[in-house]
Amino acid sequence: MKISESSAKRGNLCFREKEFLRGAACWILVAQLAGLPIASAAGDKFAPPAAPASAASDPVLKAMQNEITRASAELGKTEQPPYYLSYTVYDQDFVVLVGAYGSLLTNTTAQRRFADVNMRVGVPELDNTHGQSRPSGVNSGSLPLGNDADAIARVLWELTDREYKRAVPSLLNVRTNTAVRAEEEDKSPDFSKEKPQTHIGEVEAAAPFERAAWEGEIKRLSGVFRKYPEVYYATVMIQVQRSNSRMVSSEGSAIVSPSASTRLIMEAQTRAEDGMDLLRVETFQAPAASGLPSEAELTGKIEKMAADLSALRKAPVAEPYDGPAVLSGRAAAVFFHEVLGHRLEGHRQRDEEEGQTFTKKIGQEVLPKFLSVIDDPTTHEMAGMKLAGAYDYDNEGEPAQRVEVIKNGVLENFLMSRMPIKNFGQSNGHGRNQPGRMPTGRQGNLIVTSTKTVPEAEMRQKLMDEVKKQGKPYGLYFDDIQGGFTLTTRALPQAFQVLPVLVYKVYADGRPDELVRGVDIVGTPLAALTRILTTGDQPRVFNGVCGAESGQVPVAAVAPSMLFSEMEVQKRAHEHERPPLLPPPGFEDAGAAKDAQTKAEVKP
């Protein structure tokens, strides 16, 4: 993290927004769509972006290659020639439909193309991207949408020239700073040497998106929430995206990676009488809309969400607690992503503002012996689910690799981009970024495996045993989770927070489990990791979007459920605004709620 304070604020904001959803969220949501440089095609056709099978027949790739060759040659004649230059062109076509209470709030088709120009001047040992100057390594802008080679070359030239004018002064700053500052502890170069890669990805064949049918389905699904007067904020969104990224570099790499993804996100919210906002989110991911669950299954999920919210509204607020707890597989997966995964990202091991929890622990035991952790972007599916963090090549054009970061509890490796660190001089295919940002080592699919397992069904019993052993009245069972965040810098306490949604008290005396609300898991990473006693035997997947210095990237985390000897929870901060004063439309009369189902029917 570059500026700990501001990044901390950003994190807080993301967290707080969950709390402040209200009606504003649908506004934000449309804003999100409209804020993009949207280009939409008239009509309903939604064809994948052209990703021709070979470089020779791809006019965009050819224009990029010609222009990068020319730019390298021309800038090669200057006093300070770049030693590395790359162009990445991202094509994104998408359809977004958002429904609420039986109507569409948003219905957008968008198409956009933008380019990142990455440039390095100086030498790999010390270049313009060193330390705080890292953002000087990239410049981006939007690119013409078609195949007009002249127009594409012209905009690439503009972007490259502008980038060169940033990179050169930045190198001067870097050299001056390096001269006046104390020597850095990790004297690794700024850029690793790697073999150029050539790869032309295949376009996956997918059924066309049936837009009209989905408009109807989104309306119907969102209309299911009409039955529940307490669910006063709810949306159902589908986002169908086809993208293609083309990358060429002055080292000779040429990589074309088309991809397709469809996400269905259902959100529902209520507010307890004390003002606490309670949220349930369900997401589904598939390469194409045809791979999503059936309407009947989704309707069932919505009914479950509404039932959960209704139960949560009435649930008591949990008291601060420190004792045995079980994290479900998905909760444990998020826990590992935050607590461990972020601290294994390579660049954090050399940034002197970072906490560097694990930097000097290579070869040492950091987890119980029965646990191993890999990050494997090459795995596309696990436990019957597509993994969001899968990719073939990273944003620096390096092939994705399965990396064993922790083997039998012992730390072995870090997640590396092309920014070397002491003793780790090469990329292992984890250099990732959101378009427009500089890549850093990031997680893809973080997978936790265990050799000390019990069947999932016995985990609750194991928890009760531990509760009794410790003489506590109850333990906590964390069922579902909405996300988490962590702080890794030195300037702020090393901490993490995981945001559970469904948490149950499991009583030692055999009383039925009790749902509680308003719980956040807190703690410090090293201590928390050593308290895992045993795990379940079924891996569970959490697909999500992870935000850090290099932007938002899709990730997955996979883990079995875990029993902790000790877990600390705190009360969640929340707003105190009352639930809506008047009953929702359709429930105007107090008695109307009962026969609401007839009123709430959605016309197809």
Binding site: K18, G35, Y101, L145, D150, A153, K165, I265, E588
Partner: protein, 572 residues
């Protein structure tokens, strides 16, 4: 800090909300007709009339249903019930496209309904319209399903009422810092019920044709190797505005605006950045330049950009006559007069009448006596040209009125909406708002008139005569301005033979309200319509203006480095 969460729609940051609001603000609207009825009906009769007027429009009906419910039932312990509730919906249909170097780069369609809810607690004298009490915005469904519509209206109203309760308390606390104003100005003006349900507007655009035109126009870069950047964009909007309030007002109006902007920039050999960005905005599609006309305009633009590269720099300061052509004068009028005739209520505790520079100029001279300024939104056309600032009913449901803002140089009236200012207690139909934002005093169609109008050629002769008398070699004539009233096309007018020479790198110094009051010596008979985008679109109509004395000096801008390597050679 790192975060991980599900790809949730609500995650998007507030910043983006800002972007969409900004995007919506940049959209435009145009006029339609309105009729007033039942001006002084009793409240209940008023609502009956309102319902009758809304009949058949699903959106208006849904708004009124929730309005009735909110009016009758909204009440929280220790917070008063609202005395006024208002719903305004802007249905925006927007098509935008941009091309660069002969290729389409962006192309967007937006169709969105934005609701703004205002709930006022207190009374007309003092109410909750303060801070968050100024209303809530929300997105509404695009179809007219009553339950889905009402659900969003209901939620936004609930939020607005709670915010109003807090805002009133905050405002009363804030007022404790100031001594009591013996002559307080009311917070809100009463307005007669207005019922005006007009037809809606929609867009019918030959999109493919326009995309092709933008590509063709920007292809011209191939013929002008000295020009670095060439882009062209088009934006077409239809905005339907729906308004209902608890006083029984129901209005609906539809407006369209069509605009095209060309843009190009380059650097002189010394690195100075030079640019031009002519724009065309109309309320009727047929008034936009044809493809051929646009090609002609683009060529003219590119030629002047090329000419600017060769033009001499204004090195030494000049003090003497400067003639502003009507196109340049429009910008001066907008920034120095337009902004200052608005009756924008100042912050709590501030004693001024308005926030503008004419705040204390009521009945004082602000312009030379030969000039008068009227804002007349009821004017639909001027010399056959459509006016985007025209409207029949404002965003607060008040009938548009012609307001004589400046009479023979004297400040006579401020343009206001329903928020009164000192000496102006009722709206004069100038409360306007962009989609989703709160209304405020705004221009409609601002017209500058001279009682001694002269032909522009006469004004130019006058410049020559004046500089000759002053022993100067030349005077200045400015044709068009860029941002910050900096000259884009500035010419020296030579005394000896009247020939003009294009110059670059100049700014005007002390071009301010003192200059327009004391140094404006003549105006032309060549009024030019300038249609402008904004939260609410406006029109400025101004003739050429001649300043007897104005300072022209060298701009203090840095000379950027030229490109480090040449542009790519053309393939075709």
């Amino acid at each position: 800090m790192k975060t991980l969460h599900r790809p949730s729609a609500s995650r998007a940051c507030k910043r983006l909300t800002g972007i969409v609001i900004a995007a919506l603000l940049a959209m435009n609207a145009a006029p339609s007709r309105a009729a007033t009825e039942g001006a002084k009906a009793a409240p209940d009769a008023a609502m009956v009339a309102a319902h009758a007027a809304a009949k058949g429009d699903g959106l208006l009906e849904a708004l009124l249903t929730e309005l009735d419910r909110s009016k009758a039932q909204l009440k929280m312990d220790q917070v008063q019930a609202p005395y006024y509730v208002e719903y305004r919906v802007s249905e925006v249909e927007d098509i935008g496209a941009e091309a660069a170097y002969g290729a389409l780069r962006e192309n967007q369609h937006v169709h969105v309904r934005v609701l703004r809810v205002v709930v006022r607690i207190g009374d007309y004298k003092q109410d909750s319209y303060f801070g968050r009490g100024q209303g809530e915005s929300s997105i509404l469904p695009l179809d007219n399903d009553p339950i889905a519509l009402r659900h969003q209206i209901w939620l936004a109203t609930d939020g607005a009422y709670k915010a109003a309760g807090q805002a009133l308390a905050e405002k009363q606390a804030a007022m404790k810092q100031f001594s009591v104003d013996p002559n307080p100005v009311d917070d809100f003006a009463k307005a007669p019920q207005m019922i005006a349900v007009e037809p809606t507007a929609s867009l019918k655009i030959d999109e493919a044709g326009w995309k092709k035109t933008l590509e063709d126009v920007t292809s011209l870069y191939k013929q002008y190797p000295d020009v670095q950047s060439v882009t062209a964009s088009a934006r077409f909007s239809a905005i339907n505005e729906y308004l209902v309030n608890s006083e029984g007002t129901v209005t609906r109006s539809g407006k369209t605006t069509y605009s095209v902007q060309l843009s190009s920039s380059t650097q002189a050999a010394d690195g100075m950045r030079l640019s031009r960005s002519p724009a065309f905005m109309v309320a009727r599609l047929e008034e936009l330049p044809t493809r051929d006309a646009l090609m002609g305009e683009a060529k003219k633009m590119l030629e002047t950009v090329v000419a600017l590269r060769q033009a001499p720099i204004v090195e030494e300061e000049y003090r003497g006559p400067v003639l502003f052509a009507a196109d340049a004068a429009d910008d001066i009028v907008a920034s120095l007069i337009g902004q200052n005739v608005l009756g924008q209520k100042p912050q709590l505790g501030k004693p001024n009448r308005t926030t503008g520079a004419f705040a204390t100029s009521y009945k004082a001279r602000v312009l030379p006596s030969f000039l008068s300024v009227v804002d007349d939104p009821t004017m639909k056309d001027f010399q056959g040209k459509s006016l985007v600032g025209s409207y029949a009913v404002d965003s607060e449901g008040v009938k548009a009125q012609a307001v004589n803002a400046i009479e023979s140089g004297m400040m006579a009236n401020y343009l206001i909406g329903r928020v009164p200012i000192r000496d102006f207690s009722t709206s004069n139909g100038h409360g306007r708002a962009g989609p989703g934002s709160f209304p405020g005093p705004s221009l409609g169609v601002l017209l500058v008139k001279s009682s001694e109008a002269q032909a522009p050629e006469v004004l130019k002769k006058k410049v020559i005569q004046m500089v000759t008398e002053q022993g100067k070699a030349y005077g200045y004539r400015v044709e068009t301005l860029g941002p910050g009233n900096s000259p884009r096309l500035l010419y020296r007018v030579y005394a000896k033979d009247g020939h003009e020479e294009l110059v670059r790198g100049a700014v005007f110094s002390e071009l301010d309200i003192r200059a327009i009051r004391n140094d404006l010596i003549a105006a032309g008979n060549d009024p030019l319509v300038s249609n402008r985008a904004g939260g609410a679109p406006t029109t400025i109509i101004s003739p050429s203006l001649l300043f007897g004395e104005l300072e022209v000096k060298r701009a203090d801008t840095s000379k950027d480095k030229l490109p480090d390597y040449p542009a790519p050679p053309l393939k075709k």
